[in-house]
Structure formats: C-alpha cells, structure tokens
Point group: C3
Chain length 275, copies 3
C-alpha cells in the first residue's frame, strides 16, 4: 500500500470566508509539512452531483493522496462521516454520494470506515463545520502516520451511499446521455464517452447529429475547438474522454440553453455521407 | 516564545490580478521554504470591519504564524504600519483596526512595533502596494529568523487603532446584537454568543423570537441547518460559537433582507411554553 | 545559470472546475516537492493581452522560477508549444504572444525551444488540455533537473510570436497611451510610465489634464489614492511604475467608462500655474 503524501481538498465553502483556510490551518497544526492541493471550493452550495463530477475527473491526475471532499447539506444530522480506501488514495467526507464516482474512478472501494474515533478530531466539534473539526483533522492524522483502521469502525463498502450514474446508453444507431457539466468556457460536457462516437461510425471530420431540447442540430466532430471557426458550434472528445460541445470564443451552454442533467442524443448525420 | 513557521495572508486584493501572487513571490524570495496559507483575498475593497471579522474567526484555527492582513485604504498616508505579537502569533499590517479583533482573539497584544526598518522591505517601495513592499517582506524576514524587535520602533499597544466591538448586550429577557457577517450560504451570523441563548433559557428544540427590520419572527433553535426542513428558517449555534440564522438549501440573508450591521434582538418565544 | 525552484502558474481556467488542480496534481506527481505559486486563473477566457499584462507585471516579483502560462484558444491546432529562457526564469506555454511581454520584462529571450519531446508529457495527451498534458509536466521535469535543451527542438527566439506593445508615445507637451488594465479596485492603469509625467514637468501635487472619450478632465497628481478625498478622481504613479487613475472608495473605470485599450492623452494643466 502506497503511503499518500498529499491532501486534496474540494468543498462548496466558497472563497469569501475563512472556512477553507481554517481547514488548512487545522491540517497544518497536525501535519506541518503536508502538501495541500485545492481542487475547487466553488461547487454550488449543496450541489452534491456537481461536486462528485469534478472530484471524479480530477483525482485521476493526483499523486497518492488523502482526498477530502465536503459538500454536506446534512452536516450534524445522522449521515455518516466516512473514510474509504480506493486505489492509491483515501477518500474522507460525508456518506452522501459525493465521493462515490471518484471512488469508482480509482478502481472501487477496497475498505471503508465510519469516522467514530474522536481522538482524531478537532475539539470542541461544532455541529455544522465538520470540514474543520472532523474531515481535515482525520485526513491530516492519516497523512501523519495514523493507520486507516484507527479512523473508526470498519463498514461494508457495499453499504455506502452511491449517486446514480449519469445516463449513458447505446441505442439503435444513437447514443443517449445527459449534460454532465458546463465549464467556465461554456463547454457542455456530455456523459457520452468518445468511444461511443467510434461505435456509431462517427469519425473525426464527419458531421454529428445532436438531438436536445426538441430540436436537432448538425455539428462537425473535430479534435479541438481551436480548429473551429469563431462562433461555430462543434463537438469534440474532451480531456476527460467524453464528448463535449463547444463554440470557439463563445459559450455552447448559452447558445443551446443546456443545463446540467439535460438529455441529449447523438447520432451520425446521414446527410454527411459515408463516414 | 514559539517560533512561527507559517505565514497567513488576508487581503482585499481579489484574485483577478497578480497582486496576491506578487506578495507570495516576494515572500518566497526571502524565505524560500515558508508555508503560506491564504485566508481570503475577497474582502470587499476597503471593508476593514469585514476583514477584521474573518481574520479573528480564522486565526484561532491556525498553527503558530505570522499573520499578514492588508485592507488598507489609507496606504501611503500617515497611517502606521505595525507588527504586534499576540499569543503564538505575530500580526503584520496597517494600524487601522483591521488586526484588532484578531489580536483580542489570540489573547491581546503582548508587544507592538511600528515598521520603521527599511532593511526588511522590498525596494523601491511603492506608495500604494505595501502588501508587496512592506508587509509580506517583513513577515518573511520574521519567519527567517529576524527578531521582532528588529522590525522597527517599539510602540505602546494601548495606542493601536481598535475597531469598536459589534453590539452585544443582554437586556430584560432579551439579547441585542447585530449582523456580524453573511457567508456564502446566506447564513446570517449574529454578534450574539450562543451562551446568551442559554442565559435566556432558550434550549435546543425550543422556539426563539427574532426581532429585526420592524418585525418579529419565531424560529426553531436547532443544532444544525441540516436538521431543518428545506426552506425552513432556523437559528443555530454556529462554528464560531455565535447564533446564526439559516435556511436549509436557501439564503436567510436574502429572505430577511439583513445586511451586515443590522440590529437584531433575540428572546424566548413565550408561546412555545416552558423552555 | 540559476536553477529555479518554483513553478508559477497563470491561466484562464477559472476556479469552478478542477482544471487548475489537475495541473497541480500532474506537477506534484513528477516533482513532489515543487512549490507552486498561482498568479491568477481568472484571465478572461481567451484574453491573451490581459494574460500577458498580468504575467509581465508579476514575474518581476518572483524568485527564479519556471513560469507556466496558458491562455490558449488555439490549443490542438498548429500553434507551437514553447519553452523560453529569460533572465532567471524559464517560460513555458503556447507561442501566441502570451509570454512575450514577460520575456521582455525579464530581459529578453536567451534561448528558445519548441516542446517536441513527448517523454516529458503526460500521456495520453488530450487535444484540448495541454496545460495538464504538456505545459505543467514539462515545467515539473525542468524543475526536477531535466535540462532545458531536452524539452525539444531549439528555435530562434526572433521567430516567436510577439504581441504589439501598448501605445506609449511622447508628443508636443503631452503623452499618449492607452488603458492597459483595470484592477479589482476600479483603478485604471495607463501604458504611460510615471517618468513621462516628470518629462512633461508634472510634479506631485500639481494638476494633470487627462483627455479621453472626447472630454478633458483635470485631476491632481498625488502619491497615493489614500491621499485623496473620498470620491475624488486622482492620478498617481502605481506599483508597476505606470500612471494610474483612481477614486478613493470608488471605481475610476466606472466613472470614466474606460475599458482596456481606450486611448488616453496626458498633459500638464496650464491653469494649475507653474509646476
């Protein structure tokens, strides 16, 4: 088992307050030399699915780490606090599904623990700020040499809360998916892997038919938005291996009025001739 | 005296420009291995009280540190630049009240210095960017082993500019306070400590009467917003030990139209029966 | 040649997604102890000139470093990926002009390389995320001891794409420039160095005549906005050595409706008497 040396941190705490810094401080008091990589703290408040998506797509680029994630509208209620080993990482956070896609991305849960050992917490523990008082101190202790089985009671990973996976279905000559996320550039990431385009016979340079919002549009399937004309809507295989829609120097999300979760179907464009 | 190993940093510089990074760079040139914890750089421009509140609530979670804070509308004028030892920390910034609540939070000023030693500054010193040219280089030198009394002329801490404390008064069967801050979640933090609820006989689960904006509303006093129904307005003891108002999955600040500084009175709700 | 120990990072990736963190993670996997200083990630999407201006004004405060900058609307197309040594730094990014002003600020290009060595990249290399897959891994390798000439093919620095310099011209009794940037405080930074004020005989405390947007306004030339009355528009020599317009506790950019690139002329105010 690799020993992680790094703490990654994702929350919906925002950057205007001192919440993120308080967690950094608590971790630094326990593990002075720990390196912290902030993933993002701008998950929309309480948006567990968005947090789960960003976490899953980012952890694959990380060194061995303890990954702390806190989007936790149920803090202080009966929801469990957990630590889960997966691949070369350990995930620490609330048991509300937030961690589930990232755990899958690292190969699935090898073991799980409920955080029931108060010796690893920051006291007094507040009812509403477990990021500072439970999750980051536990992570810092794990990075300081405390064994994972000291974090609390062993639990069956099969019982962890799991978010339903985004729709991603191959049909008759088409793939169906949903909008997984919209990034800063207005690029619309679909839950359809680029491999599906290959299965449908859509090659780079060919035209792809997109059905969404009760309309059908044909867009070129290119390697990059940089290859499009300014203002042109295109599809491409993005850096996470998913099909995304983009407009060079513009926002595809705005043009298409496609929010997260919207259904989208993809098919070859028959008018584009043999692909 | 503990030797701090960490530099914390709070400003109103924002994140769009290179101002924060320039300060990090100057500190790294002087003290290459110093660890910097950014508290926030999104204090509204020139809002000294907001900066003071965030700083005071965050430093208590920090390891021994030199705390640099810069919300400094008077930069380049006669206002003094200071370094103040309090508890296991040293505060560096303008003498405009910004540091005062945090100094109190760490136990009060043990000693104070006016920054008059140009040997510790970054030259040429600009008239408007003392964050880069005075405060962070002084802090980095202190973290590199320069003694605090080398920072400049010793001054009497009693003469430091101090912000007036937020209203917090116990009256006849009620506590009076003000809105101290509104966080990213729209939670409204009052200047009333949760101990005041106890003194008023308001127990967890009972109803609390809130008077503000010429109206009176009754809200349940719970341990956490996570225990509320979605959309329900509640009061709770927050992670700083203060009474806060919150709406699960919503913004209490928006619902109540309560800005920072607004007056609020709290009392038991007689209709809720014996508490 | 000094060996840099620090990686600085400027992009238009924003902070909502995990893009910046993925780059940090890839760098940490290659060079676990590298120190990263984030300059900003809030360059407006695709705004190469804005990125170039922030980079050039910030790198001068940095320790010896590998500076990675990614504002790269042409990613995945024929634009070159480059590494350029200048002064005590190495710049890594796209060859689209983004790096050009910073290279000049550090003394000009000493040598240049096209990034053609895939052994230094993160595989598989995506078509659209060279920040993660090319630029930061190359930088991390350079910081881990890989020699710069291993990065790829040597190129002639004279052939690098260079942004046109902002207008800055001395005329008959006036200086002409343009708005270089507007910062978080609404301060309007002009491309006119403060030395030009001296050449025009405008001393601190005198009045300066500003012509822009078809009107002429007279403002005092002070050392700092802190010396102005609240609401008063003034000019001052800013922390980058350029003339800036500011309003204490207000936004000069808003008052003057001056966007980036707007033309501005500066002259002594004859009515202010002998300067």
């Amino acid at each position: 088992v690799t020993s992680p040396s790094c703490l990654t941190f994702l929350t919906d705490f925002g950057l205007e307050d001192g919440f993120v810094a308080a967690c950094h401080g608590v971790a630094a008091r326990i593990a002075p030399s720990v390196r912290i990589i902030d993933i993002t703290h701008l998950v929309p408040p309480g948006d567990i699915r968005r947090g789960a998506a960003v976490l899953a797509q980012t952890v694959i680029s990380m060194p061995p780490a303890v990954h702390v994630a806190v989007v936790d509208p149920g803090v202080g209620t009966g929801r469990r606090a957990i630590a889960v080993r997966a691949g070369d990482g350990v995930f620490v956070g609330p048991d509300n599904g937030l961690l589930s896609w990232a755990i899958t991305a690292l190969g699935g849960a090898a073991s799980g623990y409920e955080l029931t050992n108060p010796a690893l917490w920051n006291h007094p523990v507040s009812a509403t700020f477990h990021g500072r008082d439970v999750f980051t101190p536990v992570a810092a202790h794990l990075l300081s040499g405390t064994a994972l089985d000291q974090a609390g009671t062993r639990i069956d990973p099969a019982g962890l809360i799991t978010l339903s996976a985004p729709t991603n279905r191959m049909g008759e000559g088409e793939a169906e998916g949903e909008v997984l996320s919209v990034d800063r550039f207005g690029n619309v990431q679909l839950s359809v892997p680029s491999a599906a385009a290959g299965e449908l016979g859509i090659l780079i340079g060919a035209s792809m038919s997109i059905r969404c919002n009760h309309r059908e549009i044909d867009v070129p399937y290119l390697t990059t938005f940089g290859a499009a004309a300014p203002g042109e809507l295109i599809a491409f295989a993005d850096s996470a291996g998913l099909i995304s829609l983009a407009i060079r120097n513009g926002s595809a999300a705005e043009r298409l009025s496609l929010p997260s979760g919207a259904r989208v179907r993809i098919a070859p464009n028959p008018a584009s001739g043999p692909a």
